[in-house]
């Protein structure tokens, strides 16, 4: 799921386009994230209350996305599911990025044996599809929300290590770092006060890409039934429920599916905007 580092094409007026990407991304993610976070605390209808007469109601004013096989309001469940997915993905990205920055900083700056060991390990892990690794982790740890977050976090660490390490390697011998060392600045201070702010542009783009990968991985796992468990709503497990009722209620599958697309598209436009515009 790693997006390759795409070099920008030589054409096109750069600045105006960058703003467009950034604006579109911000609007899309802003809308989705605020709806999702709201959905964790309040939804128009209960997300678990069942009502048989309302089964498979097509989208209407009362139920904008229709209702599902238990008569639950799909819009409310999508809100909650989006909130759950975003929360888990943000936690996963924060945890794995923090570990990745620590490991990447030390290995990139100091090199040596630790570097060699960590790099061989990340090379090996990086080649593997993330969902496969997460599957294996879950089979070791067992189902559940904490285990889902933990296993996804571990799985995504190597991708950050690689990026952070190469940035530290690049900046290690920069003039201002040599000056700082000459002035006798503490090593930790060099690592995290002098270098870290300078890799933030690169890091922020990879955080957004990582967020997308986390969203896709979480919903994929929940779809497979090894992530968030019903009756709690998650975009993935809603899709897997909806699949059985494609003929009777196609809107059931469309709502959570398009929400995932919306989230992922929003974050990638956002990332693209930052990358092109250079915030």
């Amino acid at each position: 799921m790693d997006t390759p580092s795409v070099r920008p094409g030589p054409s096109a007026p750069r600045a105006r386009k960058a703003n467009l990407y950034l604006a579109a991304g911000l609007v899309m993610t802003g809308l989705a994230v605020s709806l999702g976070v709201l959905g964790l605390f309040w939804t128009p209808y209960s997300t678990t209350a069942m009502s048989v007469p309302d089964r498979f109601a097509p989208p209407s004013l009362a139920h904008p996305f229709g209702t599902d096989n238990f008569g639950r309001d799909i819009f409310s469940r999508v809100m909650q599911g989006m909130g759950t997915t975003v929360c888990i993905s943000v936690l996963v990205v924060l945890a794995s990025a923090a570990a990745g920055v620590l490991l990447g900083a030390f290995t990139g700056y100091f090199g040596g044996l630790l570097d060699e060991v960590v790099m061989r390990f990340t090379d090996a892990v990086n080649g593997f599809p993330s969902i496969l690794l997460a599957l294996v982790m879950i089979s070791l740890l067992g189902n559940g929300r904490q285990n889902l977050i933990l296993s996804l976090s571990i799985v995504f660490v190597p991708s950050y290590v690689r990026i952070v390490r190469s940035e530290y390697l690049r900046l290690r011998d920069a003039d201002y770092i040599c000056r700082a060392r000459l002035m006798g600045v503490n090593r930790l201070r060099v690592l995290f006060v002098h270098i870290l702010p300078n890799i933030l542009p690169v890091l922020s783009v990879s955080l957004l890409i990582g967020l997308n990968n986390a969203i896709l991985a979480e919903s994929g796992m929940s779809y497979l039934g090894i992530g968030i468990q019903p009756p709690e709503a998650s975009l993935g497990n809603m899709l897997s429920d909806a699949q059985g009722y494609l003929q009777a209620a196609p809107w059931y599958a469309l709502a959570p599916g398009l929400s995932i697309v919306w989230l992922v598209l929003g974050f990638s436009l956002f990332g693209e905007g930052i990358r092109r515009g250079g915030v």
Partner: protein
């Protein structure tokens, strides 16, 4: 030659490490296998007997080596969950045997789709001078990349299966019975795996082509009177395919992962579905063998890419 020897040695080392890590990891996690097979009501004698039969009474390190030796000899062990009949346990080899071709054909078909569609698309995109076409490609590929494969699979099922009646959703014909019918059922799953990857590869190829198009040798080629077509296909495309090759190696690893999910969507009895069900029932002998197998495939693909690289660009092996 020395290079290949080194590569093969690394391959063996990685397989050893992965298998050892997987095997030992499954030993330390809580939960007793014997209790989970027999239930809590079993007599101590029966438990002891099964423990002996599965070889669980020896320490883990010794068990790993005897397991590895068995695997090398072709004996993949028995499943904890599936049984052949009342008395015999299901050998993993038998369990996997008829599921493997399903996944392999699915992956091969997806790769074929990716190669057939992404290369022309990338070339057309790179050649396009129109702002509109460029924007169209940009938006469609971005959208296709945002589609999770399982949602795409559901969309394909709905549009092609339920609305257009091109195939029966959930249906499947065994390849032993009717090979062409089997391929027809694989067509739509393969398409669902391939579409996001086609977008990614086309995007990647387009960018590689644009970088190459601004190189000096392109001007030289035009200067000595080559047609635009000849420059594109004989000079630029060849060079641009180099980075794409590495990218394709990554894509193949992704296809394997994509087919795990897609098999679930379309109800195909491949190893992906077996892996998911074995993970949720904690059927470790099966999970271990599948991990080992997938690891082998992934490493082998990277190995092949490496060799292809040297064939396509002999300069690399001279360095």
């Amino acid at each position: 030659m020395r290079y290949f020897a080194k590569k093969i040695l690394t391959l063996i080392m990685t397989l050893f490490l992965v298998s050892a890590a997987a095997f030992l990891a499954f030993q330390v996690i809580p939960g007793d296998v014997v209790t989970s097979i027999l239930g809590t009501e079993a007599t101590p004698e029966r438990e002891e007997q099964l423990r002996e039969q599965l070889g669980l009474s020896k320490p883990p390190v010794i068990r790993y080596f005897s397991w590895a030796a068995d695997v090398l000899r072709g004996d993949l062990g028995v499943s904890y969950r599936y049984s052949k009949n009342m008395t015999e346990m299901m050998p993993v080899a038998e369990l996997i045997g008829d599921k493997l071709p399903v996944t392999l054909y699915l992956a091969a078909l997806s790769l074929a789709f990716i190669l057939v569609f992404s290369i022309p698309l990338g070339v057309i995109w790179a050649k396009s001078r129109s702002r509109l076409l460029d924007a169209f490609f940009g938006v469609t590929t971005q959208a296709a990349m945002a589609l999770p494969s399982f949602f795409l699979g559901i969309l394909v099922t709905y549009v092609c299966g339920i609305v257009l009646h091109l195939f029966a959703p959930g249906g499947y014909v065994s390849y032993q019975k009717d090979f062409w019918g089997f391929l027809r059922y694989l067509l739509f799953p393969a398409l669902s795996v391939a579409i996001p990857k086609i977008a990614m590869t086309a995007r990647f190829l387009r960018n590689a082509l644009l970088t190459e198009l601004s190189a000096d040798y392109v001007r030289t080629a035009y200067g000595k009177g080559c047609t635009g077509r000849r420059v594109m296909y004989c000079h630029v495309l060849r060079n641009a395919l180099m980075p794409v090759l590495t990218f394709l190696g990554m894509i193949i690893a992704e296809i394997v992962a994509g087919s795990i999910v897609i098999e679930q969507v379309f109800g195909l009895p491949g190893i992906g579905r077996l892996l998911v069900s074995s993970v949720s029932t904690r059927d470790f002998p099966v999970v271990e063998i599948l991990i080992l197998y997938i690891t082998f495939v992934v490493i082998f693909v990277y190995f092949l890419v490496d060799i292809l690289y040297r064939v396509v660009d002999p300069r690399i092996s001279e360095k």
